[in-house]
Subunit: 354 residues, 2 copies
Amino acid sequence: MAVPSDASTASHSPTIDHVAARAGVSTATVSRALRGLANVAPRTQAKVEAAVKELGYVPLSFAAALAGGKTGAIGIVAPWTSRWFTAHLINAVEPLIGEANYDLILYGLGGSNERLRRLLNRNALASRVDALMLINIPLTEDERVQMKTWGFPIVSVGMGHTPWPNVEIDDEAGGRLACEHLLLQGHRDIAYLSGDRNEELAIWSNHDRETGIKEAMAEAGLDLTRVIRTAYDMRGGSDAARRLLEHSDTLPTAIIAYCDETAFGAIGVLREHGLRVPEDVSVIGIDDHEMSSIVGLTTIRQDVRAQGTLAAQIMLRLLRGESVDASNFQQPIGLVERASVAPPREHELTGWRR
Amino acid sequence: MAVPSDASTASHSPTIDHVAARAGVSTATVSRALRGLANVAPRTQAKVEAAVKELGYVPLSFAAALAGGKTGAIGIVAPWTSRWFTAHLINAVEPLIGEANYDLILYGLGGSNERLRRLLNRNALASRVDALMLINIPLTEDERVQMKTWGFPIVSVGMGHTPWPNVEIDDEAGGRLACEHLLLQGHRDIAYLSGDRNEELAIWSNHDRETGIKEAMAEAGLDLTRVIRTAYDMRGGSDAARRLLEHSDTLPTAIIAYCDETAFGAIGVLREHGLRVPEDVSVIGIDDHEMSSIVGLTTIRQDVRAQGTLAAQIMLRLLRGESVDASNFQQPIGLVERASVAPPREHELTGWRR
DNA sequence: TTGAAAGCGTTACCAA
DNA sequence: TTGGTAACGCTTTCAA
């Protein structure tokens, strides 16, 4: 490449060749010096650094990517970006990625399964990032096989896929724990405000929570007969509660919500209908959303931030070529008792009649 | 470039040259066909498309970036990514960006002013994206001048910078509206749970809201003497309320919170101290967070989603080379009355004594 | 420890 | 409407 005879005249950003000319060394040497490779004499290193500073040189990331095969970016694929779990996960991951000097490319899917398929099927992703974090992303067998050919680190959170490491909680245990707490308080008529079958992108965590609940019920000799399917957020919780009130002759004495946001939505509707929580209906969630302490919601706690930090650390290890010692990283959960669960009342409900 | 004689033998991803060989046309023609440029015969177009499909070819974005100068990515710079405003804004922006076939590179700053400076001062950003959206980002004059040389579309939300278009609400009017509502109810002793001076990254919206409040107070012949500075989130609200309770001999009759999340935090602490909202203290927020309807928080509503959509549309227009007809897009706000504001009680506070 | 030069996969220009 | 070919700015041999 031709180096302008007078670098200071350059109208555009300086290139590595300008730096080389300025420092009186070759392009290759600048490249090595800048990336901290061995075999660069201290004096040379200093000259290069000085030239870089004087020129205000910044490497063009995609030129480096083209030549070196590394993009300097990490992709995060998530069904949604603003719901509680994902928003907080991204927030935890982002500083670690930034400090490791990677860009974070966010592939939000707006809940669309079709957008996910398009993203994965075109191999576009493979050339755009050096590593991928999948947040609650289901994969078909074909996709999984194809992604293995991509040959860069993949880490998942929530839904796991062999052979990649996965950070998760035990959703089944979560559902069970929530249900057992209600049973212990004496509840027998329990409803589950579940995720929607059509919202395919979070289907497994929901499935597992439901399984846990069913198991706990079964152990108490009961059936989970009331399951309302709805979206995984506050609005979904409201809709579900509304349907529960409209289509049932009797009210359950307790409600388990897929997550805290669903619980909030449900509580709002219950109150609108003049029902008190927990006097008339108990409600328990899963997550421990910050708002839960304000609302007084009893819930099963999970630590998203810890999950995000761990997933990011694993990813960065893999990017450095180090290995990780397990493929499944299960994070603890626990019951947080607050004010939204109480023993069922024995007398008739006052204040609510269909 | 040499084209493998037997393309099907290619071990790695097919390149544009493979496609060209397969379709029996030149590289240049494939490039044109793929980008939908004019001057490609329908037959040729069809041949190329067929070859692309058979080979599963996907263009390498950074090779295109290097040659064509377009990165295919849009950057979003935001102080935080998980707080209500930003999370919802990103959520609104992201599908529009995705559908326009741009990647979204998220530069979260973890609230760190220093990270912002580093990001802007190295011209790295300039080469990584085709356009930039700044969410509540303050710019020094030097930075602003330098960024003008970047020569690609910039759109901001919240804090605006000439000459770029800005989407915002009138924060001053918001503060005023909140305060006037309280004054109308008869409140005279009002506290403002304000943002922290040290959290430099949202300082202006807070400043404006505070100004609006002061003006409203002044018009009623009052001074805003109680201002507690704290972080812009729930925890900040809790801290501020705690300090208010600990350091004051008397309680204000009403509290204006910088935003709804701050209000939630404050309400939690008030309740912990046995104080009822609104019987003992009225609380008003700004935002209309989804949780506000559950908590019954009176607030000043703003529509984040609309702001995000508008900002994204403006950005995409600019990217298409179209012009926008204004530089300031002010979005409406409005009072939402719920249950957290009531007239002040005349008698002494019961249930709370320092 | 350094330099010269050949790629990396695309776009853009100029001719045909 | 097409093809040949020189960039684009960096990394990576291979030799020196």
